[in-house]
Amino acid sequence: MIKTNSVLDAKGFACPMPIVKTKKAMNGLEAGEVLEVQATDKGSTADMKAWAESSGHQYLGTVEEGTTLKHYLRKASGEETEVKKHEKIISNEELLQVMEENRNMIILDVRESAEYAFNHIPGARTLPMGELEQRMGELDIESEIFVICRTGSRSDLAAQKLTGAGFEQVFNVVPGMSQWNGPSQKSVNE
């Protein structure tokens, strides 16, 4: 089950209605929120991808369940342009090296559950930004924590919060999953 902020039922509608309805539903979401669109029109997958690209939203992926296609989209957030404040930063390549050393550490993926579902680093823990404060206690305070998101911006915020709560070995992985070339996996069947 992929958690989303909103679900749109566009089943039974032919092109152009799935996109028309998706565009409208997106307008009602906050930046960074995730929408699940259920459609039966086979052409909707290619169009969702292309529409997301042209409108700046993030197309996460599609799951096929019987005759229903479930598309996942994340509303444009403008996070790429924000200035990063957390000082301990490591690059994607450096994280790969750390992973190879097999150290006792946590890779903490703070993206939305739908983003994580379609592409994440094997062994990474999912803890979406919105749930961080209440679930922080699940993390070992002694452990090294590498926080990752899509572009390094949400993870910057998460790293600051963790540091503020007393975690000492917190690193922000920059730029994050958008440029990740290391091992990755999915937790959904596409």
């Binding site: 032919a14 996109i19 052409g43 290619a46």
Partner: protein
Amino acid sequence: MAFKQMTAAEVSKKVINKTDLFILDVRNESDFNDWKIEGQNFEFLNIPYFDLLDGVEEILDQIPANKEILVVCAKEGSSVMVAEMLSEAGLDVFYLKGGMKAWSEHLEPVRIGELTNGAEIYQFVRLGKGCLSYMVVSNGEAAIIDSTRMIDAYLDFADDIGVKITHVLDTHLHADHISGGRRIAEVTNAAYWLPPKDAAEVTFEYQPLESGNVITIGHTAIDIQALYSPGHTIGSTSFVVDQKYLLSGDILFIDSIGRPDLAGLAEDWVRDLRETLYTRYKELSEELIVLPSHFMIIDELNEDGSVAKKLGSLFAENHGLNIAEETEFRELVTGNLPPQPNAYQEIRETNMGKIEPDDEKQREMEIGPNRCAVR
């Protein structure tokens, strides 16, 4: 202003008559780049419908005032929406009825010519996909060769001209489109002929088509002589009709030659392909008119919309028949091949009777260009 529908048949006439037409294709860019309506005097603009949801004002200056305008999408819905918006903005426009789906399925019958004793041969031009199929008619009987899955087009045509379909033939096991051969044979009780080397895995009964077979249509005997010509597939067979026409299947096209890789055996079949093109075909009369099963580009169409040319002219002009060096030939047909046709494995399995997808699925499998040739 008004917006009206234009049918695939009307667009076909414009292709054949080389009429001017401005096409606003509102599918997404990758679909447009992969495959679109082609016409010599057609002009194109591709703006995805989802970029026009807020209005068409921004593209109005890109649409000519003095041409017929046709809005095209995948299945019709989006083109109706955009056509309506354009008409509200003051333009007279058409949308393509049934969209690219209908375009892909439309067959335009063209009479190729007369045979002895008043017999005739027709070519069914599938403009949207570049597939060509044939009907040989003689004395109340007909044979169909390389039929598409739109079998009503042939059945209705045979009814209209008052002939009974008695034989159905496929030159080879197709990988780019679903054959209607078996279903036509079922509906009409005709014999269905397939080359046995391509039919090793088929799940149904068929008549083995072998070199030297002569199939007679009508009692005035129009002969279809089978000529084994491997290369595109191992079983590929050509037909010489009435000593006048060479139905070359997917072995030889007007401006290109068949590709040997669609059954996964490019290396093995290169030699067969060369042997067929450079030796077996060389032994035939140069006066034979070649009727292939595909065309690749719209320039291959003759003035009347047919796709046909003398074998002698092809030996002179077709690049694929004029490569002296075997290594260079091998390079052409095995290196740098175009992408394989959409769903070609599933299409082959369907043609073998191994899987039976529903109509919607079959339509989807055939989307896109045929890509059976190399140039």
